[in-house]
Amino acid sequence: MHLEPGDTAWVLAATAMVLLMTPGLAFFYGGMVRSKSVLNMLMMSFFTIGIVSVLWTIFGYGLAFGDSGSGLIGALDWSHLGSLVNSLPNNGGEYPIPELSFSAFQLMFAVITPALISGAIADRTKLFAWGVFVAIWVTIVYFPVAHWVFDFGTKHADGSITGAGWLAARGVLDFAGGTAVHINAGAAGLALAIVLGKRVGFGRTPMKPHNLPLVLIGAGLLWFGWFGFNAGSSLGANATAALALMNTQVATAAALLGWLLVERIRDGHATSLGAASGAIAGLVAITPACAYVAPWAAVVIGLLAGAICSMAVALKYKLGFDDSLDVVGVHLVGGIVGCLSVGFFGSTAVNSLGANGLFYGGGSSLLGKQALGVVAVAGYSFIITLILGYAIKYTIGFRIKESDEVEGIDISEHSEHGYEFGQIGAGGSFATRLAAAAKGGE
């Protein structure tokens, strides 16, 4: 087994960076909710890390990257990752890195995708129901969709490829997960926002972000981790990784400016929440495109994403659904902008494994494939999530009690407060057997 130390080191480091995105997302979301639900918002992400990582070991990697021959889903592999210890990943060709590092890297994508959905149903979701949802959703939505998009099949010695996902086989270009991660999460977020309904007081009570510095810390961690997400997806320390990294930076920067520009013109002020949101919109949009377009095109894609997403977030008030933290406006819309942009700006001059888009003499063929990817993933995710959401709602229940929601979900679901600022009476006293233990120790 021949390993390239440089490639291996980069993929291992990128894996850790992508893991950090989920806590980053937790802070990004956590700062945006009211102070009475900050812990629950953080917990929805951390809980997801726990559930998905365990499922990945049991059957997730097999369902996403195994070969059932259908192109629709992988296959169950009951070795529980044990067989990967001494093998190389073969994903449309062999990579000189341990297959376990490939599997760990892909696990982090499986972790963050359901976590992204949590922003759509902030402040009101039963933790247990969320756990059940995440476990089933990754199994019947994420793992299959990741197989469609990310599994390029096994390349054999004679050059033939078998077992590729059906979208990957058709030439849909999604480098790091514009469809499988962002459109998938965005469409699911829309479905769940509809299933759970609006928060108590939505559109009447101000639901302002309680901690904008936390939002910006989260955005910063996401931005940093995203270099692992995008540039790590090259699975090697090479020119493609450098292109992806540079495009990630400039598209994000341009999107930040694009969002602020719209705010300045429309609302009169450039806001810190707008800067953070614009950066995330840019990161989302460049994700599918980062290894297929030139940096100047990345700037254009970023500007478009920032401006379009900043206008898209107002849709929920017009259409009357409470996508609390704008998963739809940022991830679904940003993902669509990014996926379609490859159909315009894709260029084989920057990546021979890519394809030429409309602006590079490739005609509309690539754009058509990209649109297919968008519609297939958004449609499948929305419909299955809607069915799963209603199934959970009418069996174990999806929402907490209205009175608990008003008092704050942190207390009712976790029995904790996010912040303890007051100096008087905040300490309380032991209410349990610990009190007796403390007395006995005197």
Partner: protein
């Protein structure tokens, strides 16, 4: 004895304190308050959603004074807190029937 209470704009606090020190007021109590009068609140915008914030931050000053000092203390506060803009605040005083210094047990004017 009188209790003089003032609600002022937070950024005027330093000037008011200097003015009170200048006329020999030995101590004051300050707390953060929020509210609105004729000025009403301000607007904040989050991701394009505009909120009207009715309650704006204010500072509340409380001073116990001798009857004789009442007018000079009120005048000093009003002069120092004045910006001639809407939302400058209010000052009022009420009679106080008893004051006790906790440490010594002194009562009445001796406790001021």
């Amino acid at each position: 004895m009188k209790l003089v209470t003032a609600i002022i704009k937070p950024f005027r606090l330093d000037d008011v304190r200097d003015a009170l020190t200048a006329i020999g007021v030995p101590g004051i109590t300050v707390s953060e308050a929020s509210g609105y009068g004729r000025q009403r609140g301000h607007t904040e915008v989050y991701r394009g959603a505009e909120y009207t914030i009715d309650l704006v931050p204010k500072v509340r000053i409380e001073i116990l004074v001798d009857d004789a000092d009442e007018e000079s203390v009120i005048d000093a506060i009003v002069k120092a807190a004045h910006t001639n803009a809407i939302g400058d605040g209010k000052v009022w005083s009420v009679p106080v029937s008893q004051v006790v210094r906790v440490r010594t047990g002194e009562r009445g004017s001796d406790a001021l």
